[in-house]
C-alpha cells in the first residue's frame, strides 16, 4: 500500500512548522477561554517538537509521550470536573492537538491535527458569532487545507505557493454548494439535547437578584443588551420601560426573585394603542425577554408570561433570538389581587430597617388614602436632599435605613428598594422591577439599541381599583434621567467611549452605522431559522412551504450544484479553445478520417495531402490546395482575416466521398 507507506514516512521540519502555524492560528480565537497552564503546555509541546525536528530528531521517547498526556488530561478534569460542554471540550481539543504535535512521528499523526484544527474552528464559531471571526476562520481553513495538500502530496514542499493556490480554488468551488446547503438545510426549532451550557458565562447583564450597587456596575458597560425595531404603524412611546425580572423577596438588603410556580398571568383590560415591535435579544445566561409594559401577545409559543408579566423563554437565550411582541401602554387589572400574591408583595423581614418602618407609620397616619401616601413618599424624594450618583457610598446591613437617613445618595436600585420598603411598611403591595429604560435610536436603520448602561430598576404598586401602577422614584430626583439615558444624566461617570461620542457626533454616527450592519448580520445570518426558510420559499413562489418541500429543494439544489461542479472540474480537462483557423483544419481532418483517410499524428498538412493524393487522385487537387493554403495561413506573418474566412468556407464546402472499394 503505497498510500500507507507515504503516510508512514517521517515528517519534515517544514511540514511540522506549517501544521503548527495553522494550529496556532486556530487557537487564537479560543485562547482567552483557556486556562493559562494549558496554553503554556500546548506552546511548550509544539515548540519542543519543532526544536527536535529542526535538529533532525524524531518524537520524544515513549515514556514522555504517555505520561505527559495522562497527567495533562487528569489536570484538565480536575479543573473542569467534566469533559462535556463547550469550554471543557474546547480545552480538551486544544490539549490533544498540542500533544499530538509533540508525539507526531508520521504524516498520519498530522492528519489528526488537521482534523482537530477544523473542529477547533467550529468550536470557536459556536462561542463567537462575528462576521470577522467567520472570515478569519475560513482563512485558517484555507491555510490548513493547503498544508494538508502538502502533507499528502509526494511533491517537494517547496511548491507551497501552488498548494495555497490550489486549495484556494477548491475552496472557491465549494462556496456555491455551501450556500445552497446553508439556505435549504432544514433547521430545527430548538436544541436536540441540552448540553452543559457554559458558553456565555462571562456575559454581563441583569441577574435575578438585586442588592444596592448591582446596577451601578452595569451602568459602565457598553454592551448591547438587545435591539428593538418598532413595526410600521407603531410609534415608539416616549416612556420606554423594558420589563425584566420582577423581584419580590426582600431580606433587608437584597431583593430576590421567587419562583411563583406555573401560575398564569392575571388577565388585564388593555387600553390605548397597541404597539408591535421586534426584540432582538443578545445571548445572555438567563431566559427572560425584555418587553414593554404591558405585554399582550408575542411570537414563539414556547415563551410564556409569568404571573408578574415577565416574558420568559423555556431555556436560557444562548443564541441571538428575535421575538415579535405586542404591548399596550395602558392596562388595568381585570380581577382583584390574589391573596397569595398580596401576601407575598407586602411581606417584609422583621428586624432590619426599623427607622424606615417608623417613618412610614408616621406618614401613613397622615395619609390614609393609598395614593396620597404614595405621593407623600415621592414628594419626600423630590424635596429632601436626595442625590443621584453612580458612586454611592457603601451601605451598612440595614441598607434602606442607611440610604434614607444617612447617605441619601444612591442609584436607581437604592430608590426602588427604599420606595418598595416604604410601600410594604404601609401595607401597599409593592415589587421591584428591573429592566432597561430608554435606549438609543439608530436613525440609519430605524431601530433602538438598548445597552447594559440603560439598565434600570423601578417599582410597581397595587392600588385597588387601578391595578398595578408603575412608579419610578428615581425620576423624582433626576427627572432628566427619565427623558433620556444614563449617559446624559451622569456624564462624569459614564464610560469613556460615550463621553467621546458626545463630543464628536461623527464618531457616534459611525458607531450607529456599524451597529446597523451588525444588526443586519445578526438578523439575516445569525437569526436565520425555520421562519426565514419559509419566507425564502415564499419568495420563490412555492405555496404552503413545509419541511418536505424544503428537502426537495435542497435535493434539487444539490443535484444542480454537483452537476455544476462536475462540469466546472472537467472543463479544465478540455483542450484550450482554438482559433477558427485551427478549428477549420480539424474539421477537414475529421471529414477525411470519416471516409477512411485519417491524418497520422506525425504528419504536417502538406505531407498529409501528398499521401492522400497518391491514394485518392479524385480529391488530390482540391486537398493539396486546401492544405497548402492552411500552411500558408498558419505560418505566414499575419494572414488577412478575409483569407482566413475564405479558407473556412472552402473547408465547409469540401465533402470527400468514401473511396470506391479501392483503398
Amino acid at each position: 500500500m503505497i498510500g500507507q507507506r507515504m503516510a508512514a514516512e517521517r515528517i519534515s521540519f517544514e511540514r511540522l512548522t506549517w501544521i503548527s502555524g495553522c494550529l496556532a492560528l486556530a487557537l487564537l480565537p479560543v485562547v482567552v477561554r483557556l486556562p493559562l497552564w494549558l496554553i503554556a503546555m500546548v506552546v511548550t509541546a509544539t515548540g519542543l517538537r519543532l526544536v527536535l525536528a529542526a535538529r533532525g530528531h524524531d518524537a520524544p521517547p515513549r515514556l514522555i509521550r504517555v505520561i505527559v498526556p495522562l497527567l495533562a488530561i487528569a489536570l484538565l478534569f480536575v479543573q473542569y470536573r467534566t469533559f462535556n460542554g463547550l469550554s471543557a471540550g474546547t480545552a480538551l481539543l486544544c490539549l490533544i492537538a498540542g500533544l499530538k504535535v509533540l508525539e507526531s512521528k508520521t504524516g498520519r499523526d498530522l492528519h489528526v491535527v488537521v482534523m482537530i484544527i477544523y473542529f477547533l474552528s467550529l468550536a470557536a464559531l459556536l462561542q463567537g458569532e462575528s462576521f470577522w471571526l467567520l472570515g478569519y476562520l475560513v482563512v485558517v481553513c484555507w491555510l490548513t487545507t493547503s498544508s494538508l495538500l502538502g502533507l499528502t502530496s509526494s511533491a517537494s514542499w517547496g511548491v507551497w505557493r501552488t498548494n495555497v493556490r490550489y486549495a484556494g480554488r477548491v475552496l472557491a468551488q465549494a462556496v456555491p454548494l455551501t450556500v445552497a446547503l446553508w439556505l435549504f438545510f432544514p433547521r430545527f426549532g430548538g436544541p436536540l439535547w441540552q448540553l452543559a451550557d457554559d458558553s456565555n458565562a462571562a456575559t454581563s447583564g441583569l441577574s435575578d437578584s438585586m442588592s444596592p450597587g448591582d446596577i451601578t456596575e452595569l451602568a459602565l458597560s457598553d454592551d448591547v443588551a438587545f435591539r428593538v425595531r418598532f413595526s410600521p404603524g407603531s410609534q415608539a412611546p416616549p416612556e420606554r420601560y423594558w420589563r425584566g425580572p420582577v423581584l419580590h423577596d426582600f431580606d433587608g438588603r437584597a431583593w430576590r426573585r421567587t419562583d411563583a410556580g406555573r401560575m398564569p398571568a392575571p388577565p388585564l383590560h388593555f387600553d390605548g394603542p397597541a404597539l408591535q415591535y421586534t426584540v432582538s435579544m443578545e445571548p445572555n445566561q438567563h431566559n427572560w425577554i425584555f418587553v414593554l409594559e404591558w405585554p399582550a401577545g408575542w411570537s414563539g409559543s414556547r415563551a410564556s408570561l409569568t404571573s408578574d408579566y415577565m416574558l420568559v423563554a423555556p431555556n436560557a437565550i444562548a443564541q441571538p433570538v428575535d421575538v415579535v411582541a405586542t404591548s399596550y401602554v395602558h392596562a388595568q387589572a381585570a380581577e382583584p389581587l390574589d391573596t397569595g400574591m398580596r401576601r407575598r408583595d407586602t411581606r417584609l423581614p422583621v428586624g432590619p430597617n426599623p427607622r424606615s418602618l417608623r417613618l412610614s407609620q408616621e406618614m401613613r397616619a397622615a395619609h390614609r388614602d393609598d395614593l396620597d401616601y404614595v405621593h407623600a413618599v415621592l414628594d419626600m424624594f423630590r424635596q429632601q436632599p436626595f442625590f443621584y450618583t453612580l458612586t454611592p457610598p457603601r451601605l451598612a446591613a440595614d441598607s434602606v435605613d442607611a440610604f434614607l437617613f444617612d447617605s441619601r445618595r444612591g442609584f436607581c436600585g437604592h430608590y426602588a428598594s427604599a420606595f418598595a420598603t416604604l410601600m410594604r411598611d404601609a401595607g401597599i403591595p409593592a415589587r421591584v422591577v428591573t429592566g432597561y429604560h430608554g435606549g438609543t435610536y439608530n436613525r440609519f436603520a430605524d431601530y433602538w439599541i438598548i445597552r447594559q448602561s440603560d439598565a434600570h430598576a423601578w417599582d410597581e404598586i397595587w392600588i385597588d381599583g387601578h391595578g398595578w401602577l408603575r412608579v419610578d422614584p428615581t425620576a423624582m430626583v433626576a427627572p432628566q434621567r427619565v427623558e433620556s439615558g444614563l449617559n446624559d444624566a451622569v456624564s462624569a461617570g459614564a464610560p469613556l467611549t460615550s463621553r467621546w461620542q458626545q463630543r464628536t457626533p461623527w464618531l457616534a454616527d459611525t458607531r450607529l452605522r456599524l451597529d446597523a450592519l451588525r444588526q443586519l448580520w445578526r438578523q439575516r445570518i445569525l437569526g436565520f431559522d425555520q421562519g426565514s426558510q419559509e419566507k425564502l420559499l415564499g419568495l420563490m413562489h412555492i405555496p404552503a412551504p413545509d419541511g418536505q418541500k424544503l428537502a426537495i429543494i435542497l435535493g434539487l439544489c444539490l443535484t444542480v450544484g454537483l452537476s455544476w461542479l462536475t462540469w466546472q472540474v472537467r472543463r479544465e480537462l478540455k483542450p484550450r479553445p482554438r482559433d477558427p483557423l485551427t478549428r477549420a483544419y480539424a474539421r477537414l481532418c475529421r471529414r477525411l478520417a470519416a471516409v477512411g483517410l485519417p491524418r497520422m499524428p506525425h504528419e504536417g498538412p502538406e505531407d498529409f495531402a501528398a499521401r492522400i493524393a497518391l491514394r485518392r487522385p479524385d480529391i488530390a487537387a482540391t486537398l493539396t490546395v486546401l492544405c497548402r493554403r492552411y500552411s500558408d495561413l498558419r505560418y505566414a506573418a499575419a494572414p488577412a482575416p478575409a483569407t482566413v474566412s475564405t479558407f473556412i468556407r472552402a473547408v465547409r464546402s469540401f465533402r470527400p466521398r468514401g473511396s470506391r472499394g479501392s483503398s
Partner: protein, 323 residues
Amino acid sequence: MKRLRRAAAARLTRWAVRRHGIDTLPLTISRRRIYIIPTRFGLTLGLMLVAMLIAGLNYNNNLGLAFGFLLTSLVLVAMHHCHRNLLGLGVDAVGDVDAFAGAPAQLEFVLQSDAAVDRCDIEIHCTEAAASTHRVAANGYQRAVVGLPAMPRGVMRLDQFELRTRHPFGWFRSWTYVHKPLTVFTAPEPRGTHVLPSAAAAAGNVSESDLHGDEEFAGLRSYQIGVPLKHMAWKVVARGGEPAVRSYTGLAAQPEWLEWSALEGMDTEARLSQLCRWILESEAAHHRYGLRMPGTEVSPGHGAAHRSTCLRALARFGVENPP
C-alpha cells in the same frame, strides 16, 4: 482479514475485467472505468462532519453550520478533483519485458496528460509490492518505471495493472484497472564456465591466425561485456587507451549454433544459464548465432530483437502454457 480483503480485491478485479474487457494500449482513461472510495482518513473526516453538523444544529448556530457545510462541500469538491486526476489520462506500457533471474525487472510505462491540468501523485501498482508515484505535467508526458523484485527464471504474466491516486487531500482514493497483460520473461542468470562452441573448436586447432584464416581484420570496436578474451586488443589496453576489441569481417558468414545437446551431463538450470551466457557473448561479439533446444529452434540471427527472442526461449523453457 487480510485474506478476506485479498479475496474481495480479486473478485472486484474479475468483475472489472468482465465489465471492460481486455484493453489495448495506448489507452485513455474514460469516466466509466474510474472507481472511487473514501480512504480511512476520509471516513474519519466524514464522521467528524456529522458531529459538526449535529453540534451546529444543536446549538442552533448558523455560523457553525455554515462552516460545517463549507467543509462538507470542500470534501465533495475534493472528490471530484480526485476523480478528475485520472480522467482522460493517457497510459501506455511496454507489454513484454525482459529480465534476468536474480535481478529486478523494470516495467516501463508512459503517462500522458492532454489537458491543461497537472496530474499529481499518480501511483502505478503492478503488484502490491511493486508501485511508484509520478507526476504528469499539464500537456506533457511522463515516463514511469516500476521495479519488480527479483524473480526466478520463467515467465510471469501480470493480467492487469492499476493506476491509483489519493490527490488532492488524501480523503478519497480513485483507481482504474488496465486489463492489459504484461509479460515478464525472466531469462536465467548468465553463468557457466564453458567457452563458446566455436572457440572450443578453435582451441583444439591451436593458433589464432588459423581461427581467423578466412576472416579479415576489420578494425577496433569498443569493449562490451561478454566478448571473448582472445578478441581483446591488448596492445591498445597496454598503451593506456580505452579497452577495445578487434573485430573481423566474415564472422557473420559463419553462424554459431548454441546447442542444448552440447551441454550433456549438467542440470537443466545450469544448462540454461550457460546458454544464456553464450547468447550474451555471441551478441557482444557480433556473431550470428542460433539456438537449438528440445522443442525450440531459433534460426541464426543477430541484434537486439534476435537476442530477445533467444532469451525468451530460455525463459519459456519448461514453463507450461507459455505466452
